[in-house]
Symmetry: D3
Subunit: 239 residues, 6 copies
């Protein structure tokens, strides 16, 4: 698995999940957006990192008493201590937000350990605190009940589903104010590079639209003049 290059990470910090989804769609990948998750704090820079995953299964009551967390090998706690700095911690909560995927203390620990962010297709508890942290947290909706009520952590860093998207360990995960997209590891460099180009063009189009130009012939640039104008704009704006 190729590891995420610093230059690629930098590029991904500056593009949107919407643009990335289009670049993936051009490559035949339609299901890489994690459905129905939102940022607790929408005012942060992009979240970018390789996926480190945790898989939950439905909790069986006898195996999920409050005592289980005394076990240092409990997969949830172990995963929090093992997730590499710079990675994004992605949890398969089976889209079930009736109980928490994790809470404020574990998320704080991840932040302190240099992890890039956390995503669950379920819900987090202590969400009001998390909303004030400078750490990207994405979930479906708040969930105060303790994790054990509904979930049992069972596997660390295996391929999972999250919000109907496939997530393989090492895939590059990008989050912005809109949501989270999963880029297959082998495509990260080329998708990032293309997204930077696309973003330049979209910024140009946005500027022209705000000046009053029609989208016909401009977006996409089927008019020759649009392409000429864009070339000039790039030169002028240094992009």
């Amino acid at each position: 698995m190729p590891s995420l290059k610093p230059a690629t990470r930098d590029q991904l910090m500056k593009v949107s999940t919407a643009t990335l989804c289009t670049a993936l769609f051009k490559r035949g990948l339609s299901h890489q957006f994690i459905q129905d998750v939102r940022p607790l704090n929408p005012n942060l820079p992009n979240m970018v990192g390789e996926a480190f995953t945790l898989r939950y299964m439905p909790a069986r009551e006898d195996l999920n008493t409050i005592e289980v967390f005394k076990n240092r090998e409990h997969p949830q706690r172990k995963a929090v201590e093992e997730c590499p700095p710079g990675a994004v911690f992605v949890i398969d909560s089976r889209k079930d937000a009736r109980a928490a995927s994790a809470g404020g203390i574990l998320v704080s620990r991840l932040m302190k350990r240099g992890v890039a962010g956390i995503v669950s297709d379920g819900g987090f508890r202590d969400s009001p605190d998390m909303a004030k942290m400078a750490f990207p947290v994405y979930h479906q909706r708040p969930a105060a009940p303790t994790n054990l009520t509904v979930h049992q952590a069972i596997d660390i860093n295996v391929p999972i589903g999250c919000g109907d998207a496939p997530v393989f360990p090492g895939d590059v995960v990008v989050g912005d104010g809109e949501g989270v997209v999963v880029i297959p590891a082998h495509l990260a460099d080329e998708v990032a590079a293309e997204a930077v180009e696309m973003t330049a063009f979209e910024d140009f189009v946005q500027e022209k639209v705000m000046e009053g130009r029609s989208i016909l012939g401009l977006y996409p640039p089927t008019d020759e003049q649009s392409r000429i104008d864009f070339a000039a704009w790039r030169q002028a704006s240094g992009r």
Copy 2:
């Protein structure tokens, strides 16, 4: 189809969707509120305009490659350029927010063209940007994947469903911080006028409630005294 009178528009700028729903309910219309949509920017004045509609159907993959937008006659792009200034652009996305109904550039173009606002029962992409625009945008939830992933634009300005509400072209669409209501065109004037009256009474009641009065006999004003007090209040407040 009667066109929306400026006076009616002015009245509708000052009343709530809740009040309008009650006025419609009195006329036997119970399903005119677009279910499960919310404003991206909740701090704007009301959105008021006649409905201009776009209908989406499920995308068939071979008909929805990224190339289709090169066609100037593509209904989505065509509709954006044809929607009359002052109208509200309403999209039937079949309540499916897995992919975007539209994105920031098209919505900016609508804004520049003088359109009054946009509503989809699916989701928009580039939603963080839209949330900062002084343009009313209502949807279910953010959706970064490109439109073509799930939707194919198929019909312009036909009767549609949006969030389980029936929407006919020319119906008067009103949005506030709560959501969006659809007023049948032929009722717009009388419903607007009645809503203004109802709002005066509700403001009076709210004032009295905040002064500590019971709602019994006041709301509705089954006590003669309530009606006397309201008459006095109207005179005093010039409403």
Copy 3:
């Protein structure tokens, strides 16, 4: 039914619904969190009070014309005037947010009467106004259509379901920025006391985690040193 003690109320003002859910889970109660409701104004102190309930059933059209509110004995209006000061008004709306559980005037009346807050597993109308009030209101999503469209108030202060949680009159209801939890009346004192203790420990852990300590051995405190440190912290911090 034991009534809520002022000291217990004070304790419950200072703990989170997440902590309370864990204290209840330890006692075998897993379904006390009201699912899928959120505060309209997330910046208020906790909502604490005994449950006073209102039950809605599906509206039958002939029994729910706009005229019914002229009846002073209508259960919705009666309940608003009878809910005791300090109580939390909890509505069983069958998780149906297609029409309003109540609106701004009734909620204002509850606030003026000294009620502690209001919860519905449906939706409220006039929600933008409520979001500005210093009064805790929790619901699923905004709903402009009048109550009568979908709901008929039928019973006051009976046991109900709200967001899949069982609610008995007199249960102690606590809301924070995350959501709402229902504490069985007979457990309120002990759960409140335990939650205060748990909160002290969680605050200690959070502080240590922010200083860089691992969660292993600390949370839960399986290391002897963690317990020693906590004892010292309590002494130092006066908690």
Copy 4:
């Protein structure tokens, strides 16, 4: 409350829920069909009787141990023994089929007691046995877990919702192979009579359609000839 007349019951044995829904729709009642329930045994005569209701709320674990059924006053067991012969037992299970509304023994007891049938918007256990009984049982889907897992019986013979339909004790409940409809008590006689008339006309139309006639002018009979033919058909067929 008028009680169900034998002649009305006889009429309702011979008409369909579809026809009854139309008769109710003409009277402004649109929500009387219990949504998403089906007969376990679709080969029985119609189920007709006055509603006797049981209300469930979400189960709180400490109040719903297996021991509770030792209490002869437990509302579920009490209701089974008190439901009048000829009545239809209708359960508000909050559309939750994760645990049983009741099982084979209770349903057998109802059958033996002369009850007309049973309906739940949740699920029954022992459903394969019930499917062989000559007793009408309607539910959403089979549910093997014991009632107490999810439900607590709380009220006998109060107004309830069942499958989004309002059900008042004494309403006349009719089930056929399609589903279940609830006729407000005061309308039972007139709706039954009208449905008998409508059924005669529908049978006539069906016969004509099977002979090859177009529905235009026939259904509804806007052609004078259709009305003449129907009059002749009634005379000939003695209906």
Copy 5:
């Protein structure tokens, strides 16, 4: 639009929707199966025909009184009389089965007119009668309430969605005991031919599996011997 050839129709009578879905998947078409519909009578031959469509929108109460069917131009009634013999009548009911898409009389008329079958992603009324007809009817679940309660017929023979599948007039619709698949018109011949070939191979494999052979190397036939055996089987069985 190419019309359905008799030979193609014959081929499609003998293959399954499962096989057709795979043939479409190989061509990049993944969403052609109409989700969540089932046959009322599962014991009929395949349904095969070109799609003739009817689009429903949400009903507005004032436009959908029982009187509207007196209008011979009402789209629902008109469509029933205009649907070509041999076609499949496909209704876009927005997956809403709370009221009927149509009932027994209209469906009987379609049958008499030589239509090949009917599909709705909502529900039909008079479903027990339809279940006995030798006419293919597919829907989500029974729905006794009259059409007008929830639906308004608005467009005849336009592109629609049905059960999340795109349906264009003239597409070839095939139903079996499992469900319904939509074949784009231009692919009908090649997909039918390929499905016949695939069916021969699947029948061979099924026979071998029932004789005890492993699927490895057989399905798909990566072992040379499997291909040899299949060739021999074809010769022997005359397929």
Copy 6:
């Protein structure tokens, strides 16, 4: 992990999933019933066996072309060949029935290999054929699209969720006409034995109820006489 004893298997062949759910409920296990699956052929003896599991994740398009099945190591095909005779093959399809969990050929192979049955919380294709097989198959609803459309097989014999129930390899899975229950391996013997006892009592009660006895004092047997009668019944019936 204890393996399933023949005597236990025999006992489990004769008891219902409803009875087993109650025995598990008494031990604090409430979530062992697989929600929302049904037998394709409801007329078979019980399905009993140890769980052998297969986990699906959401399909990524580039990894799930039709070519992948040529790989003999593909987990779906491998699992079919490796599942032990006598085991129940349980698939975690994430409750997604938009595409098939498997089809007729693979299921036939399992049957021929002596597997006890198959369960998916998604859907199977070729379901009409399966419904005629003397092999227990449980799913949510038919799904003609090929597996690869939505699912990617990723793990063999790991702990999974199926219909919201936790399933560990080796758990004892029992299916009847109602659905499927999962018994933790270490409880299988005692739960089976208790269920046999409970079944005897339930059969006795059912007989008495059919003779006209009240359930009060009988079910549960709080009357001394009920216990005496049951003892006599056991003796008489040899159970």
